[in-house]
């Protein structure tokens, strides 16, 4: 179909005339103004207001990490370590044979079976409440290091008791690194390269030294001893026996520095009580049941028989009596551990004397070591550490450094199915770090 040029031109003229008429119309101008008003409104402050949102349940970093929050920052970092320590004690207790898993699901069997694989999310990514280790300990290391760095950058005028806070957070950062060094075959911090346990112990020692200096400057003897015990442990792990003994000797036997717990949140609970006595998720391992010295019950290791099965329907439920509530404190550093470190380094008659002193202390009142035990001092020391430091997160590394025979033995069938007991004595660096860290 075709049309003449005149017809087309006429149509165009008519259309042009119509458009001109529209534009001249007042009504048109009024109508056209509406979208422009809308556009103008959208372009002005109204848009900013519409895009302003609140998030009262979270604080962003810029608003949180300010001097006015110094005490909260410090306390929160300590709380991160306290929760991480609880998860580590349970996880390492399973691996070291202090505890047996009692759950019917398999998530933690690899702890129990000593065959944790780098791909597993449980030990790599789970929270401290969920008995993860690598992530919670790294979070604690990070927040305490961050607190120290911030506090060191602020002034005494901005932050009351600044040195005291530095001492406490530096010590917690150090203890976090000790857990990484003791528990893992290798680790990383700050998205850096792989660190050997030796390197991690060295990093821990730097932080304990910072803590000790700040504690002394603040005249805080408890924090100074917290740092001394930690540094002694780090030095012992890195082979500096003399340095370890020097620190340990300066700590009084009755010194105790506890992680605090409360009922305000699950993360604040005593994890061992929550997992064993309350949740039945773990049970006391057979070698910690009915522990005696010369036929008499050993008051350092007390567990009671629940006369029932754990939820896995395989293990018998035994409940530890070291921590008697969800709010019971968990030792981070004690004079007893310092004595044991000192005994280990000194050895000989001095070492025996230290062990006997511990056995004779009030509330324990055990007889001195027998002649046979004295002749096997190393064995006696390992046994003393096993009992004195039960469920304090030290046994896993003791199993490794002393090459303690594993119970149940490697190769034995895992009673809940799915494999045999492994030979693991430290956890591998998780894939979650290896795959996300550009240094690998």
């Amino acid at each position: 179909m075709t049309r003449s040029h005149d017809s087309v031109r006429g149509t165009r003229r008519a259309a042009t005339s119509r458009v001109s008429g529209f534009v001249r119309s007042t009504r048109l101008r009024t109508v056209l103004a509406i979208p422009f008003i809308i556009t103008a409104l959208a372009a002005c402050d109204t848009v900013d207001r519409l895009l302003t949102v609140n998030s009262p349940s979270r604080l962003d970093e810029a608003n949180y990490l300010v001097p006015a929050n110094a005490l909260l920052i410090s306390n929160s970092a300590v709380a991160d370590y306290e929760c991480a320590l609880g998860g580590y004690i349970v996880a390492s207790g399973l691996a070291a044979g202090e505890l047996f898993d009692g759950e019917q699901t398999a998530a933690r069997w690899s702890y129990d079976r000593r065959d944790v694989d780098p791909t597993q999310a449980q030990y790599a990514s789970a929270s401290c409440v969920g008995i993860g280790v690598y992530t919670p300990v790294n979070v604690a290391r990070h927040t305490n290091d961050q607190a120290v760095s911030l506090l060191q950058g602020w002034t005494d005028a901005q932050v009351p008791n600044r040195q005291r806070l530095i001492a406490r957070n530096a010590a917690m950062a150090g203890h976090s690194l000790v857990l990484l060094a003791e528990g893992f075959c290798e680790c990383t911090i700050n998205v850096g390269p792989a660190l050997t346990p030796q390197q991690a112990f060295d990093s821990a020692e730097v932080r304990f030294t910072t803590a000790l200096a700040a504690a002394q400057a603040a005249n805080e003897p408890a924090l100074a001893n917290l740092a001394r015990v930690g540094r002694a442990r780090a030095r012992l792990g890195s082979g500096d026996a003399a340095g370890a003994a020097e620190d340990a000797a300066a700590v009084p036997q009755d010194f105790v520095f506890n992680a605090t717990h409360d009922l305000n949140a699950a993360s604040r609970n005593n994890r061992i009580f929550a997992q064993n006595n309350q949740g039945f998720a773990v049970t006391v391992a057979p070698s910690y049941r009915n522990v005696t010295v010369a036929g008499a019950p050993d008051p350092r290791v007390v567990a009671v028989n629940g006369n029932r099965k754990t939820p896995d329907q395989t293990n018998d439920l035994w409940s530890q009596q070291k921590y008697l509530s969800l709010t019971a404190g968990t030792p981070i550093a004690t004079g007893i551990e310092a004595r044991l470190i000192l005994a280990e380094v000194r050895g000989g008659s001095e070492g025996v004397a230290i062990l006997n002193t511990l056995r004779a202390r009030s509330g324990v009142a055990l007889p001195p070591l027998s002649a046979a035990e004295v002749s096997d001092f190393t064995g006696s020391l390992i046994e003393a550490r096993r009992r004195e430091l039960w469920l304090q997160g030290t046994r896993w590394f003791d199993m490794n450094r002393f090459s303690v025979p594993q119970i149940p033995a490697a190769g034995a069938d895992y009673p809940k199915g799915g494999g045999v007991y492994g030979t693991q004595r430290c956890w591998p660096l998780p894939d979650v770090e290896r795959l996300a860290n550009p240094n690998f």
């Binding site: 979270r58 979070v139 993360s267 039945f280 395989t314 996300a436």
Partner: protein, 727 residues
């Protein structure tokens, strides 16, 4: 009316193997099998019920409509009851809808729509907790002889018989939802019209997991012990309150330029606000049976109290030119800003161009007589996805009076932008008895938002989102409709649809070619996002003395073999379907009775068989665990390796069946999809801003709750069937 059931459930679970005492001895054991039939016989004789039963579906809907030319109304309501194949899985739901439409004059009309739904859904204790599926799938002969539990209370089921779960736990969700909208349309002149839509969508959820104190039950079943279990009782409650507010304005200026040419100019603006409030609390240790409240418990925790707000403001300008009502050409640009964008990003703009030509209306072109209508179309456009509320910001969350790292954040995170070109055609043949619709599309997503695991040594847990370089996609979608019969009392119609999709990561940014999402899921340049990558077993030997696999070798990534400990992860398969299709057939009888059937297909992807992993690799319930000499050493290596290997566990998941009787639906949930643009000014326009699956949606799809809700029984099968007929 209808029914839910598990087809052939007595035979579809594999027998489980396990050791049992011989002659009352605890030392001498024999390995035996336990079948679902045996389990069911025991359950039936003890509790008078089968493991799975057919659940009834009933749905009653009533509506009334009417009015005058200036005022029309519609009111409807209904009541629905569904019973699942597992007896505690059920729901009841009531809904009410009221629509009003008023047209006081030719230039103005108002439409309002209100809908309210309320109901309760009871959930079984599955998904890791237990219940009929858990207890049956992971049953064991050993549970017939469970140590301290004398009298065989477990009947062989893991943890306990399903009925014990039903006694112990009560989990439900109450959900109330109100949606309301008002649309004001003004046709001020013959060449100008505009409309405003105001909407609100409010969802209130109350989720409760109740475990009343039940000392007798806890004493009889070990798996039900513990403070949080029936021993002392526990409860967890959470509420979720989500309000979505929308404002959508659109104005069209429709001018006839000539007799042949018409111009439609459009401008619009939208506001989309979403506010979510989550609260949760838990408690355990009730002092006595019968108490079941937060206040009554000895231990109480406030587990969460979160508020999320996310607002988007957008606007667009569009120009359309129409020639003889058969050629439509459109150009547009829109801009969006979002409250959650990273600090280094601001307004994002997207272009759109499209053309549509109704060639069957073209007098100069002669088409065969059976072609009723033929439309050719092509389009190019952009869309995007904004980050979530806290994705860009490093935040700390409160726990028990302290703050702890919550989200690693990424301050450089910005929106991802998708650009796509598509061409296609729509045809109606034989007086519209046959319809064809084909589209080919090709596009890229730039700055794709992908997830990666944050390295724990950085001190923040969880995932971190980042903008990857580029993800490419292309595909073909097709639809064929056939109305085979359209009689007075019987009508038959068929519909065949299919699609082929391909995704490929072109770049992950300047620093890396590999990003890990989990132990087996990675983003790798050259492959689809979120694909399966793992160490692949290639050889193993069997040691008859130790009865274990030895000399286990893995793929070295170069066609050879190497020690598995240092082996690289290699590509196993895609994790999302690359081919999908469906065939539906419907019959309408006497104009009122409609019967539908569907046949679905999904292929080109793989899934991890988690059930087999748990049965054979963790719980040791398979024949391979007790008679490894009967199997390929490779399979033995995998079964004995716990969670180390997934070579045989990640398998082709092509699914072909008629199990789902509801047609697949897509649920766009983002503000910038087509709905954000408002309705096209002309119904004949081609909409280019259709829902485009984004890279993040792909990477997270396998974690979706919706997928987990379908209990897989192995690749290629689904748990439940549903059939229904409606009047």
């Amino acid at each position: 009316m209808g029914a839910n059931w598990v087809p052939d459930w007595r035979n579809r679970f594999e027998d489980n193997w396990g050791p049992v005492p011989v002659g009352g001895s605890t030392a001498v054991r024999d390995t035996v099998q336990l079948s679902t039939r045996q389990l069911n016989d025991s359950l039936n004789s003890n509790f008078g019920r089968d493991i799975f039963e057919a659940g009834m579906l009933s749905d009653l809907q009533l509506s009334v409509s009417g009015g005058t030319p200036t005022l029309r109304y519609y009111m409807g309501g209904g009541y629905e009851e569904n019973q699942g194949a597992e007896v505690v899985n059920r729901l009841h739901r009531t809904n009410l809808r009221v629509n009003l439409s008023a047209t006081p004059n030719d230039n103005f009309d108002v439409q309002s729509s209100m809908a309210y739904t309320t109901g309760r859904t009871y959930l079984p204790f599955e998904a890791g907790g237990g219940g009929a599926v858990w207890g049956t799938l992971f049953s064991s002969p050993g549970f017939l002889y469970s140590g301290a539990n004398t009298g065989n209370p477990q009947l062989g089921f893991r943890s306990g018989p399903p009925d014990v779960y039903y006694q112990a736990y009560n989990n439900f969700q109450d959900a109330d939802r109100f949606t309301g909208s008002v649309t004001l349309t003004n046709r001020a002149t013959s060449w100008f019209n505009h409309r405003l839509i105001l909407g609100v969508d409010r969802l209130a959820e109350d989720n409760q997991a109740l475990t009343p104190r039940n000392d007798p039950l806890a004493a009889r079943y070990s798996a039900f012990s513990g403070s949080g279990a029936p021993t002392n009782g526990s409860m967890a409650v959470s509420t979720r309150d989500v309000t979505v507010s929308t404002f959508d304005y659109l104005a069209n200026l429709d001018l006839a330029l000539t007799e042949s040419w018409r111009s439609v100019s459009s401008v619009g603006g939208q506001f989309f606000g979403r506010k979510s409030l989550f609260r949760s609390a838990s408690a355990n240790d009730f002092p006595a049976a019968g108490l079941l409240s937060l206040a009554a418990a000895a231990v109480r925790n406030v587990d969460g109290d979160e508020v999320f707000e996310n607002n988007t403001v957008g606007g667009f300008i569009q120009q359309q030119v129409i020639w003889n009502n058969r050629l439509f050409m459109t150009a547009a640009v829109r801009a969006d800003d979002n409250s959650a964008f990273g600090t280094n990003f601001d307004v994002v703009t997207y272009p759109k161009f499209s053309a549509s030509y109704v060639i069957s209306e073209e007098p100069s072109i002669s088409l065969p007589s059976f072609v009723s209508q033929l439309r050719l179309r092509a389009a190019y456009g952009g869309s995007g996805q904004q980050p979530g509320a806290f994705d860009a910001t490093r935040t700390y969350a409160a726990q028990g009076g302290f703050l702890t790292p919550a989200n690693a954040g990424n301050p450089d995170l910005g929106p991802e932008r998708s650009f796509e070109t598509e061409v296609g055609f729509e045809a109606a043949l034989f007086e519209d008895r046959i319809g064809l619709d084909f589209t080919y599309f090709n596009g890229v997503t730039k700055d794709a938002i992908l997830a990666r695991l944050a390295p724990p040594s950085a001190g923040f847990p969880g995932e971190q989102l980042f903008n990857a370089g580029e993800v490419a996609r292309s595909g073909l979608e097709g639809l064929v409709r056939w109305q085979a019969l359209n009689g007075e009392n019987l009508a038959l119609d068929f519909s065949l649809s299919g699609s082929v999709l391909g995704y490929k990561i072109n770049s992950l940014g300047p620093t890396t070619d590999v990003v890990s999402l989990s132990a087996q899921i990675q983003h790798v340049v050259g492959y689809a996002p979120g694909a399966w990558w793992d160490r692949r077993l290639v050889s193993a030997e069997f040691d008859p003395v130790t009865r274990r696999a030895t000399n286990i070798q893995c793929d070295d990534g170069n066609g050879g073999a190497t020690e598995c400990a240092g082996a690289p992860r290699v590509f196993i398969g895609n994790s999302v379907p690359t081919r999908e299709g469906s065939l539906s057939a419907g019959a309408t009888i006497f104009k009122n009775l409609r019967i539908n059937s569907f046949f679905d297909y999904r292929g080109g992807y793989s899934k991890l068989d988690g059930n087999r992993r748990v049965r054979c690799n963790l719980f040791a319930l398979c024949e391979i665990n007790y008679h490894p000499e009967r199997f390929d050493p490779l399979l033995v290596a995998e079964a004995q390796g716990g969670t180390q290997f997934t070579t045989e566990l990640i398998q082709d998941a092509s699914l072909c069946g008629s199990a789902s009787c509801r047609p697949p639906t897509r649920c766009p949930n983002r503000s910038h999809d087509r709905s954000m643009w408002g309705a096209p000014p002309s119904p004949s326009l081609v909409a280019i801003w259709r829902y485009l699956p984004t890279s993040r949606a792909l990477s997270r799809r396998h974690h979706s709750t919706a997928e987990r809700a379908v209990v897989p029984l192995g690749n290629g099968s689904r748990m439940c069937c549903r059939s229904f007929a409606s009047l």
